[in-house]
């Protein structure tokens, strides 16, 4: 019997509210930003309506912006890799533990979200600063006479990012691990696999969708950040987002800010597209359970 080709509108009805929201809150504002990128900034805070490519030309020809893109990609990769490594262990532990109050561990994981992001970032000054907790302990133990400099450098920025984004990674991996049939690892063991082999050849591949989804989130969130480097970084620690902040808020040059914003959107969009190409977007939904 031939399959019916009749158009079924019901999925579109269900999707309509979400699509309208995306159009109203993302597509239309981003279109405005794209249009604004062709305007011309005459003086601070004064723009002229125009259709010219000066801002785009500057973006493409000025190595200042290219350096920022490179720094952003580099730092995003470092943070993502570290978050993946550091996040897998607690996620594995939470997923595999027989502790009956597992909910408590998950609650601890989301507890940081209850505290303001700014406060959480600023807290590192009291931990790693000259008069912070770590230096206090080191000096109390007599391991050093003078404070060890840990703040306002790339290391502090990476620590700040990991601190803020690690829960996203752990939760994604955890959800993925939770979905794996718990009989698979024992089955591999009975077939002669060592614990490490069972993990490497069974659990790890099956948890990859969660790992990839977490990595995508951490990468995109890091790439779009600007506050963390502002608080924890030194003069040379900046991301592409900081250039957008400078253009919009400091130089009051909205057209250039719009150009840079749209560029960041495209760059991060390319990462999502690459993920989709390699993993398939359906893996995201798997990872999120």
């Amino acid at each position: 019997m031939a399959e019916s080709k009749e158009f079924d509108p019901r999925p579109w009805y269900l999707l309509a509210p979400s699509m309208l929201a995306i159009i109203a809150l993302v597509v239309i504002p981003m279109s405005f930003i794209l249009v604004y990128s062709f305007y011309e900034n005459i003086d601070l805070a004064i723009d002229r309506v125009a259709f010219q490519f000066g801002n785009w030309q500057e973006l493409l020809t000025d190595s200042y912006y290219h350096t920022a893109i490179w720094k952003t990609l580099r730092l995003s990769i470092i943070v993502t890799v570290l978050a993946a490594v550091l996040g897998y262990i607690p996620a594995y532990f939470i997923a595999m533990t027989k502790y009956r109050h597992k909910w408590l561990l998950l609650l601890l994981l989301i507890l940081p979200f209850w505290v303001s992001f700014i406060i959480r970032t600023l807290s590192w000054i009291h931990i790693m600063g000259n008069q912070g907790a770590i230096n206090g302990i080191l000096m109390w133990l007599g391991l050093t006479d003078t404070p060890v400099s840990m703040m306002f450098n790339e290391f502090a920025v990476i620590v700040g990012f990991i601190h803020v984004f690690l829960p996203y990674m752990i939760l994604n991996i955890y959800v993925s691990l939770e979905g794996i049939d718990e009989n698979l690892e024992p089955a591999a063991r009975t077939l002669g696999a060592t614990p490490w082999q069972a993990f490497r050849e069974v659990t790890l591949p099956l948890s990859l969708p969660g790992l990839a989804a977490g990595s995508l989130l951490v990468f995109v969130l890091t790439g779009g950040s600007y506050v963390t480097p502002l608080i924890l970084g030194g003069p040379g620690d900046f991301l592409f987002g900081n250039l957008i902040y400078d253009a919009v808020v400091v130089e009051l040059n909205w057209p250039m800010g719009a150009t840079l914003s749209f560029t960041l959107l495209v760059l991060l969009g390319l990462v999502v597209a690459l993920y989709s190409r390699l993993m398939g977007m359906n893996q995201l939904s798997k990872a999120f359970g």
């Binding site: 601070l44 200042y64 406060i119 009291h126 000259n130 502002l230 003069p235 400091v250």
Partner: protein, 388 residues
């Protein structure tokens, strides 16, 4: 009424700890509680604040936070509210550029009434962008006590009427930790103390203002800051400074924190903030190098504000008793003329205080020289500050 955000809550706590009002354990407990409160109740607080504002005439004030806002709240806004029944909602901004960005984005000045505006340049920018008002000076009789020398630069820009009242002034000099830098060395080096290579990693700088950096670049390259001929030399000195800097600070609270915790030993600094650190007992000294940068601040009223109440508040703030109490609190001299109003000893002892009432001992930015190059040089500074 006080609008509290996370950053402000943190600033208040660090200042209280710096003052010795709260021990370290309580500080961390309160910090945690503040963070959770901000995370959980920010939306509810905003909603309640909106309802409270709807109850009567309220004025939205935005300023620099920290000890400055504390002084204004305690000595000006709270007594004004008690005396009039009006409400002042005071908040901290990240700078006037941030406010202008918000207003431009919103397309109106709703929620913004009075700014603690910095310098004549910003006065000009607000007016030129169409956000100025015409204050009725008859409603602000205390203006008669304000120094003519501090009003004149504003009146040059808007000869027919003012959109702000000058309120205080200060200098951006150099702060140094006396445990690591002697007074003799500091005075011998002057502005070049900021370029001392042996202090690499212990030097700070204000990242929020291109003109401040350029002013010091000019001093370090032996140029008159109000007549810079060689901008390349200025930025070369800024690069030299950048390579020694641990951190460009972006607020007065951050400046105080970096100095108090000895993260940095030397930085350019705002005179009042250093005076506040000294009052807390920190070994921080302050000097204005020859031709050091002076500035004046005004209370700028934005278009669309309730004028009668705004003028009433400005007059209240300029009352000698109020103005001197604020000056002592924020550690910046008042705009009142010392020839007309008897200053307290505490005010006379403040850094940058000019006893002549003419401001002739201080060097301010000449807006005719600085404003025309601002667009180009702001961009240049943003690049230099990031390694360019």
């Amino acid at each position: 009424m006080k609008k509290i955000d996370s950053t402000k809550r943190y600033e208040q706590l660090t200042e209280r700890m710096g003052n010795g009002d709260v021990d370290r354990r309580s500080f961390f407990s309160l910090l945690g509680a503040a963070g959770i409160t901000a995370g959980l109740t920010g939306g509810a607080m905003t909603m309640m604040a909106t309802q409270a504002r709807a109850a009567g005439t309220s004025l939205n004030f935005e300023g620099w936070g920290g000890v400055v806002s504390e002084a204004l709240r305690a000595n000006a806004f709270a007594p004004y509210e008690a005396a009039t029944g009006n409400t002042v909602v005071d908040a901290t901004f990240g700078g006037e550029a941030e406010v202008l960005t918000k207003i431009k984005a919103a397309g109106n000045t709703d929620g913004h009434n009075i700014l603690h505006s910095s310098g004549v340049s910003w006065y000009q920018r607000w007016v030129e962008n169409g956000y100025g008002v015409a204050l009725n000076e008859a409603n602000i009789p205390n203006m008669a006590n304000v120094m003519t020398a501090i009003i004149d630069p504003f009146r040059k820009i808007t000869p027919d009427s003012l959109s702000a009242v000058p309120y205080d002034y200060g200098t951006t000099g150099i702060a140094y930790n006396t445990k690591y830098v002697s007074k003799e060395e500091a005075e011998a080096l002057g502005a070049n103390l900021l370029l001392k290579k042996e202090l690499k990693g212990k030097i700070g700088g204000w990242g929020g203002d291109w003109a401040n950096r350029a002013w010091y670049g000019a001093l370090q390259s032996n140029q008159n800051p109000n007549d810079i001929q060689d901008w390349d030399a200025v930025w070369e000195k800024a690069r030299e400074h950048r390579d020694l800097v641990l951190k460009y600070w972006s607020s007065g609270a951050e400046l105080m924190d970096l100095l108090a915790k000895e993260e940095i030993y030397v930085t350019e600094a705002w005179s009042g903030r250093v005076a506040a650190l000294q009052a807390q007992g920190h070994p921080i000294a302050y000097m204005d190098p020859p031709n050091g940068l002076a500035w004046m601040e005004s209370m700028f009223v934005l278009k669309g504000s309730p004028m009668a109440e705004a003028e009433e508040l400005l007059n209240f703030m300029l009352d000698p008793e109020t103005a001197l109490a604020v000056a002592e609190g924020q550690k910046y001299p008042s705009s009142l003329d010392p020839n007309k109003v008897e200053m307290s000893d505490a005010v006379k002892a403040l850094p940058a205080f000019d006893a002549t009432g003419t401001l002739s001992t201080l060097v301010f930015r000449d807006p005719t020289k600085w404003n025309p190059v601002e667009k180009e040089q702001t961009k240049q500074w943003n690049r230099v500050s990031k390694g360019g």
